[in-house]
Symmetry: C2
Subunit: 285 residues, 2 copies
């Protein structure tokens, strides 16, 4: 079922709760792919009822980012959701979520701001304000749907860590479930932004997973010095790859490591032409 | 009943909800007086069960403010709460609310930040960050207790307006009930900080309510020019009164008025010696 208003979602979820059913939420920006499908499947497996939200959240896009051209494919999204066993698709308009008649900023709207220590690094460094927008909209979706569980992909690992931190800091009564990255056979991590890549770009984009897999192999062979691990990346990089960051950090605190351990995660971001891609891998699993 | 942990509150409220009972929350910093009692009475009247929180919230105090010497009177508070018909007193430690081992700031903790447009004026101007701390702790208390209704005094009118805005902006599923200011027979608005006043200071403190009542009288007589209304205050002020602000603003948006109307509220803050006092009045009621 597809609904567009907060009122409708609330009524449906209220009815489910009356019946004692557990509710899972998968927040998305649509343009759903097999990565999202794995999140929906996880929720359908764990919860009696599953809601997905489809909302391209304007306040998490920074100036110059791809808000207007971000892929919007609601019909296909609804089909995929239904095939995954989702019970309810919530696709609100920006007006439904933020009202109208004022500028979408912390000047006129209440924001949920994650700790600077978690947002001044990795993607937060180039995408200033991005995680403020993410936490604010996720908090709103949590309050609208009031699920028991919410499912997020490890693909956006910094986002997942920040949301877990938000839930802890604000005592939000929801359990956050992180789900593994889904990759093409080639190794490329699925992303809605892969649609921007030509076939040739996609080959170049394999550099992200190659670097990550290689670092993990080196770690498994006993190399724990972070500087040495990061230097192994240079074999793979060429002039088509505009590296933004390659960091090895603690998976809970995002502290930078000098010596890697099983709780370390490797994070990478780079641009192929104008398409910004991210990927990451845990060293210990 | 008195509990100190989040876990205990949640278990008790969960049990009430299972029974279909409605829950009211009165967030306080303790040092309860008849003003708080009126909030509790309102909740007891409206809801099946009433929780009050007693927590002197460190993150809403600014540097140099009275965090350490703020009155703490938990035994008396519990007695007053019981006499008012409150079912549960939640009095957590700072550690229970914020954990330990890190600095209490947005560097390391997720904050809920109300719009700058609402906080750059009135009390927010001198108490920078105060309302960020208020919104953050209130959001946490809402998530911990998950009440149906929450009760706040109009005494802190800017706070009430900001909390209503937060609830709207973040789609928090709780109804906020504002309750009228309780005054001594003299006109002095009740405040926990009145404890800092000597008998002589208390007489001087009547200037706040005198100014407000007089402005309201003038408005009722037909004067709507804000400049003229504000000028009537000078009759009452003397060298013992350190006026911080006297503003007439819209009761929903906090926009400054040039012509007063029934939805205008008069806000005043001034210091008697080192004690900062606030008061306010609606023109239209």
């Amino acid at each position: 079922m597809l609904v567009h208003t907060i009122k409708e979602v609330r009524e449906i979820v209220k009815e489910w709760k009356k019946q004692g059913l557990s509710v899972g939420l998968v927040p998305t920006m649509g343009a759903l792919h097999a990565g999202h499908k794995s999140l929906m499947a996880k929720s359908v497996e764990k919860c009696d009822r599953t809601v997905i939200s489809v909302f391209v959240n304007p306040i998490q896009f920074c100036p110059g980012e791809d808000l207007d051209k971000y892929p919007r494919t609601l019909d296909a999204d609804c089909e995929l959701a239904q095939s995954a066993g989702v019970d309810l698709v919530f696709a609100p308009s920006p007006k439904e979520m933020y009202g109208e008649g004022h500028i979408l900023s912390n000047d006129f709207l209440t924001y949920v701001i994650p700790p600077y220590f978690y947002t001044d690094k990795l993607c937060g460094k180039s995408r200033v304000g991005h995680f403020d927008g993410v936490c604010t909209v996720v908090n709103k979706l949590f309050n609208i749907v009031q699920p028991d569980f919410a499912f997020f992909g490890e693909k956006d690992a910094q986002q997942l860590i920040i949301i877990k931190k938000m839930v802890k800091d604000l005592n939000i009564p929801i359990e956050i479930i992180g789900c593994p990255i889904v990759r093409e056979e080639s190794g490329l991590a699925l992303s809605s932004r892969n649609k921007y890549l030509s076939e040739e770009d996609k080959k170049e984009a394999l550099v992200l997973s190659k670097i990550l897999f290689n670092i993990k192999n080196c770690y498994k062979k006993g190399i724990t010095d972070v500087k040495a691990l990061k230097e192994t990346a240079f074999t793979f990089l060429n002039e088509n790859h505009n590296l933004e960051y390659l960091d090895i950090r603690d998976n809970d605190t995002l502290d930078e490591k000098t010596v890697a351990d099983n709780n370390s995660r490797v994070f990478i971001a780079l641009k192929i032409k104008n398409v910004r891609l991210i990927d990451n891998i845990m060293l210990g699993s």
